[in-house]
């Protein structure tokens, strides 16, 4: 009995040794196999590193995206500032923050010849503000979207939504929500005040007037929400109109059949623009460049327009053509068809769209202070 027991022990010991030896010997092969997959550290808004966007590229190029998601340009700049150079290979940022990324030396120069500038849907996209410095390219715009009046079609008519006055409709008291970020909301108030193209460049009187207009909306406001709260508020009908957003949220709900829509009112709308940059010191600049090229290819543009997290419009002619061909329903829903009244490119041509920027005569802190006061009012 005891002999049997010893035998069993010896067998186990040998077995363990064999297994250990096997693992040790095969380790270099395993690690080599892993090493073949290149990891790309991406800093982006939520959704950009998800399979619906990067899956096909990962498979075709044997790379793996490791996304770090942020919410807001400030948050993005802070994450980069607090990380050693080279931490992020690929940075997706709002266009208005590209200038700061460049000024702070966080991004590499790009070669303009690598990108399809001859295929842009609008000439503004070729020399997008802040993306070039001394005729050198630092960031490549890949998508955009428009912010205007977002509303529930059961309680606000299309005619009413044609003006920011819709937010002051008496029946909407307590039913108007704010996306909790001062920049788009105050930008819209500035547009309502008739500041047009000068919406970010407000002198003292204009800034005062914007604050007064905003304060007059306070009694209509039913809450201040993040992405999830905005989404829920519109979906369950708690909020009948929303300030500070656009199709990037209502589009997702609309695809699910919710009675919501976004339009650009007569006073004008704001464009959010997302651009890719390559992080300074990245050792994977080549594959990052390929990915940016992929996102600007017709296939990448279609994926961006169909993005599950939030849709954006195509910026290249070939991208738009392919969207119309492979997903005419989405192209129609998002008005990405020539001749449609809310075609994003036509709106830019008509001068009704203003690119989102940061305040020119006040600091971001001034705007944020007022925003906190407004929330407390």
């Amino acid at each position: 009995m005891s002999c049997d027991k010893n035998k069993k022990k010896q067998f186990l010991r040998r077995d363990v040794l064999r297994l250990g030896g096997g693992v040790a010997l095969s380790a270099p092969f395993v690690s080599r196999a892993w090493a073949q997959t290149t990891e790309i550290n991406m800093l982006a808004w939520y959704g950009h590193g998800e399979p619906d966007i990067v899956g096909a590229f990962e498979e075709a190029n044997n790379v793996k995206f490791v996304p770090k998601y942020y919410a807001g340009g400030d948050n993005m700049l802070a994450l980069i500032a607090q990380s050693p150079p080279g931490t992020y290979d690929l940075i997706l940022s709002d266009a208005e923050f590209v200038q700061q990324l460049n000024a702070l030396g966080y991004i590499e120069e790009l070669n303009a010849a690598d990108y399809p500038f001859d295929d842009m849907l609008h000439p503004d996209f070729e020399k997008f503000p802040g993306h070039w410095a001394d005729d050198k390219l630092f960031s490549m715009m890949v998508r955009g979207g428009h912010l205007g009046v977002s509303y529930n079609t059961n309680s606000v008519s299309a005619e009413e939504a044609a003006s920011y006055d819709a937010f002051w409709k008496p029946e909407l008291e307590g039913k108007v929500g704010h996306f909790d970020w001062h920049l788009p909301s105050l930008g819209m108030m500035s547009l309502k005040n008739g500041n047009g193209a000068g919406l970010w460049d407000l002198d003292e009187d204009q800034w005062q007037a914007v604050q007064e207009t905003t304060m007059s909306l306070r009694q209509q406001v039913g809450g201040f929400f993040d992405y999830g709260g905005t989404f829920n508020g519109l979906k369950n009908g708690e909020m009948q109109a929303m300030v500070g957003i656009g199709d990037w949220i209502t589009g997702v709900l609309e695809r699910d059949g919710a009675p919501v829509a976004s339009v650009i009112p007569n006073e004008g709308g704001i464009q959010w623009t997302e651009s890719y940059s390559i992080g300074i010191g990245s050792e994977k600049a080549d594959i990052c460049k390929q990915f940016i090229q992929y996102m600007l290819s017709p296939e990448g543009q279609v994926k961006s327009a169909q993005m599950a997290a939030y849709p954006g419009f195509c910026i290249t002619k070939a991208g738009r053509a392919m969207l119309q061909e492979v997903d005419p329903k989405e192209a129609k829903r998002s008005h990405q068809m020539e001749g449609m009244p809310n075609d994003p490119i036509a709106l830019i041509n008509e001068g009704r769209i203003h690119y989102r920027d940061i305040p020119q005569q006040q600091s971001l802190e001034d705007w944020n202070d007022f925003w906190s006061e407004y929330k407390n009012a």
Binding site: D74, A78, A81, G223, G229
Partner: protein
């Protein structure tokens, strides 16, 4: 001999002392320090500058948030205590030992689920098209707006604190010497007077500690005022988030956090002093 005993005691106390030093005293000191730092280009830089204190304490909206948070957390703690008391009284004095055990177990169960999930579940109940308004609709009432209101915030706070208040109150009252209650009744004290003059004074410590916990948890909670209160008005935890989001002003957020801590210290100190104060004439 005495020295050995001290070492023995110290050995056992050392982990908690180290824990407190590393995870409480250290971070608090660091937080105080960063409240004097400055932010340049989204990066905190060590400095000794009072600018953050001047800016935050000089702004009306910070004080508005402060008083609102103090008010809504106090209100919520008071409501939790009032709702919890009859339930705890019944469990302590009317329920059998077995039923009490089951009740406490059931009161613990909500803590198995994330507080965030429990908060979101209120959406289904409190929405204008939700369960509660549907029920009220059957009797010709409503619909009422309950989400994104002060009411919503308080409901969220109670979700967090009410089970705890009932548990603490039950345990406290269950430990009251029954003979004292019987003596009061034998001496002609009516039921309500017995509660007021015997039960409450004898469970004072537990009741105050329960109220204190309800207040502390509500005062520091971000989830209820944000998701059920719709951020109107913003409480101090929301203000901290807003401050860090905009311009990465962690030093200014630290100022708000210190204000909160000092308030909690003052309230906790007063509450504990009250809880353990001996009644007049007692030795």
């Amino acid at each position: 001999m005495t020295k050995r005993l001290d070492l023995y005691a110290l050995t056992w106390r050392l982990p908690i002392i180290l824990w407190q030093l590393v995870f409480f005293v250290g971070p608090v000191l660091f937080m105080v320090a960063i409240s004097f730092f400055v932010v340049r280009n989204y990066r905190m830089q060590p400095a000794f500058d009072f600018v953050n204190w001047e800016k935050m304490l000089g702004r009306g909206y910070v004080w508005d948030s402060y008083w609102y948070t103090l008010f809504i957390a106090s209100l919520s703690a008071a409501i939790a205590m009032l709702i919890a008391f009859p339930a705890a009284y019944a469990l302590a004095f009317r329920a059998s030992e077995n039923l009490r055990r089951w009740a406490i177990f059931l009161l613990i169960i909500p803590f198995f689920t994330s507080y965030l999930v429990r908060t979101f579940s209120w959406y289904v109940i409190l929405a204008e098209t939700g369960v509660l308004n549907a029920l009220l609709g059957y009797v010709g009432l409503g619909p009422y707006t309950m989400l994104n209101t002060h009411f919503g915030t308080v409901v969220g706070y109670l979700t967090l604190t009410l089970p705890l208040a009932v548990i603490l109150q039950t345990v406290t009252m269950a430990n009251i010497d029954r003979t004292l209650i019987e003596a009061a009744r034998n001496l002609g004290c009516k039921p309500l007077a017995t509660i007021w003059r015997v039960v409450i004074p004898l469970s004072k410590t537990g009741l105050i500690i329960a109220a204190l916990f309800c207040f502390i948890l509500s005062f520091g909670d971000f989830i209820a005022p944000f998701y059920l209160g719709g951020s109107q008005e913003p409480t101090l935890p929301i203000l901290i988030l807003d401050t860090t989001k905009s311009g990465q002003q962690w030093p200014r957020a630290a100022v708000v956090a210190i204000m909160m801590m000092l308030t909690l210290f003052a309230i906790a100190f007063t509450a504990i002093a009250l809880a353990y104060r001996k009644p007049k004439g007692a030795r």
